[in-house]
């Protein structure tokens, strides 16, 4: 069996899976926004029939969205099985093979959670399972994006194997360096020797800088995860319009949540769908989602500033951080529009999908920064950090 670290078609396949997963997350968002999660009241069957044989003539109204969500989820499950086998057979990095297994476990768990959301709805646990299902979807998407990144050419080319040079802080430490693409530099240490590839960007980063940048990305990405959980909680409780005005909330910075005020809010809510009286906790979760969104916007801008200061012009970190800021700005705008347009399905779905992408981008930045931390770390720490890549074999 021939295994390698870089397989172009495997990478393309994982990218396809990532895109399909994002579509699945978005479709799940449509189901929740439309409030049709229970349009198919049984699971794993569909109205008592095999879900794959359920006639399209019955895909009406909310059934269409919920059933399509289930079918697409099955497709993602199938792709994940293929990915796991492919990784196991063709991938030389053991830790990456196990990531494939984790992805498989994750997709199975995610499918079961989706089913439990339906089955336990009549026991009053549908919302709880729904929130868990939505949060795990984000983590699964992140895992698939990570695998896509680990199988990418960029990631493989950043491998530093063989001799352990002094901290690569200047081009002089890589004498035979030849530029191989933007932001990267390959140093071959002689015929037949293990390639020593040192990122040009890494050469500009000190270990302290790389660690500092990564710390910013890690904290901000974790905050995005918290924000996604707030969002999932809010949406599954149908509290997306628990506060219907913007920028103020019922005319205040923080709305009153006493019983009389909540009764007043409910008396004036005119939602056409998902009509359930809102409660004080709904309002609190909604407001936390808003405020965390603002904090995140500034945190992401802060990350970009830090990345700007501590990396070279045109570096991957700097460019990706800039993209991250743009995504955050669009995401905040979509969040505002979803309120002003009263949870219009397309706007809200775009908000859900971009939320997942923003989270994934943050995590990619963490991975990129981690790569540079590994490359710029002192020898002992670096050897430890690089242990996962010690199985490097050129494709």
């Amino acid at each position: 069996m021939t295994r390698s670290t870089h397989n172009v078609w495997l990478h393309r396949f994982v990218c396809l899976l990532a895109v399909t997963t994002l579509a699945l997350v978005a479709l799940g968002g449509v189901v929740t926004t439309k409030g049709v999660g229970m349009a198919v009241p049984d699971w794993p069957t569909t109205y008592g029939e095999n879900m794959f044989l359920f006639p399209p003539s019955k895909w009406i109204g909310g059934v269409f969205y919920e059933h399509t969500h289930r079918l697409l989820a099955s497709w993602v499950g199938l792709l994940t099985i293929v990915l796991t086998i492919w990784l196991w057979v063709k991938e030389s990095r053991r830790w990456l093979r196990w990531l494939g297994v984790i992805a498989l476990v994750g997709v199975v768990l995610q499918g079961v959670l989706g089913g439990m959301r339906v089955v336990f709805d009549s026991h009053g646990l549908g919302t709880e399972f729904g929130i868990f299902h939505a949060a795990l979807a984000q983590l699964y998407f992140l895992l698939i994006c990570s695998i896509a990144f680990f199988t990418s050419r960029w990631w493989v080319r950043q491998l530093v194997v063989g001799q352990a040079p002094s901290p690569v802080s200047s081009p002089a430490s890589a004498p035979a360096c030849r530029t191989a693409g933007e932001g990267a530099c390959e140093t071959l240490t002689g015929e037949g020797a293990s390639p020593t590839w040192v990122s040009g960007e890494a050469r500009e980063l000190t270990s302290a800088n790389a660690l500092s940048v990564r710390r910013w990305f890690v904290v901000t990405s974790l905050l995005i995860l918290v924000q996604l959980i707030f969002g999932a909680t809010m949406r599954h409780q149908h509290a997306g319009l628990a506060v219907p005005d913007f920028p103020l909330a019922y005319g205040k910075v923080w709305p009153a949540t006493d019983a009389a005020s909540v009764q007043f809010y409910n008396a004036h809510r005119m939602e056409a769908a998902g009509e359930q009286p809102i409660t004080a906790p709904h309002i609190v979760v909604h407001m936390l989602h808003r405020f965390t969104g603002v904090v995140l916007l500034f945190a992401i801008i802060g990350c970009a500033v830090v990345a700007w200061k501590r990396t070279t012009a045109g570096s991957l970190l700097r460019k990706t951080a800039g993209l991250w800021v743009a995504m955050a700005l669009v995401q905040v705008t979509l969040g505002i529009l979803s309120i002003l347009f009263q949870r219009k399905v397309d706007v809200t779905t775009a908000h859900v999908a971009l939320g997942a992408l923003t989270f994934a981008t943050g995590w990619m930045l963490v991975l990129i920064a981690s790569r540079f931390v590994a490359q710029t770390a002192p020898v002992t720490a670096r050897d430890e950090a690089l242990s996962p890549t010690s199985e490097f074999k050129p494709a």
Binding site: M38, M270, E271, A272
Partner: protein, 241 residues
């Protein structure tokens, strides 16, 4: 008088007395009627965007039905019931009002039943609906039943008092209905002009509550004697900050 004759005499006497008591109770049945009006102006109702299949069943656009206000500010769909003073009664054998699904809308929007009383939910549309009840008061149970065929009926009931139990259709998420459940038969739903009538009340003192899903509740104490016909009027307000 032998024991057999005495037994027969007792039975006959009891039967006669029971019938007399029943007749007396029917004869003394009081009635409370009145009107519920709305003070204040609610926000306009929202237009509902129907999907293609439901759009064919409706001749004109439909809206939400949060506040249905009729003549002289009369408020429809208010559940008016005896909140205190009525004795719990066993569920009647007769079925409660039919909750129908017509043109992708629940009709009527609000009904009332007695705890334990059975009632049917019907699909009168030639497309699939699902009937999803969402009670919050155990042991009332949530149920979600598909009705794929026109004319299907499903029997529902709730064992415990609960005002209101929400019904929805997940296939068409704009479809809602509400059921008021109380443990006695003394309740009514206001008509399009806000009028109601609760009849069959024994003499006594009662607290009557008018409960609207959006405008909240108002109560009034009413004392009725046998055969009394009393009136009670309620004004519910669109809450203000």
């Amino acid at each position: 008088m032998d024991a057999r004759f005495a037994n027969l005499f007792m039975k006959k006497t009891l039967t006669v007395l029971s019938l007399a008591a029943l007749a007396a109770s029917v004869a003394s049945a009081a009635e409370i009627s009145g009107k519920v009006t709305l003070a204040g102006t609610p926000l306009p109702e929202k237009a509902i965007t129907l999907d293609a299949s439901c759009g064919k069943l409706q001749a004109k656009p439909i809206t939400t039905r949060h506040y249905v206000v009729g003549a002289d500010k009369g408020l429809a769909d208010v559940f008016v019931y005896v909140k205190a003073g009525a004795k719990p009664a066993p569920a009647p054998a007769t079925k409660g009002p039919l909750l129908d699904q017509v043109g992708c809308e629940y009709t009527p929007y609000v009904i009332g039943v007695q705890a334990g009383q059975k009632f049917d939910v019907q699909n009168s549309d030639a497309l699939m609906h699902n009937v999803h009840s969402l009670p919050k008061n155990p042991p009332n149970k949530e149920r979600n039943v598909a009705q794929p065929v026109k004319g299907m009926k499903t029997e529902f009931w709730f064992d415990k008092q609960e005002v209101f139990v929400q019904f929805k259709c997940d296939v068409h998420p704009w479809m809602f209905a509400y059921v008021g459940v109380v443990d006695h038969p003394h309740f009514a739903i206001t008509d399009k002009d806000g009028n109601f009538k609760i009849s069959g009340l024994p003499a006594g003192e009662y607290t009557i509550e008018a409960m609207h899903r959006k405008a909240g509740a108002a109560t009034e104490k009413v004392t009725v004697g046998a055969d009394d016909k009393k009136t009670a009027s309620f004004t519910l307000k669109v809450p203000t900050p």
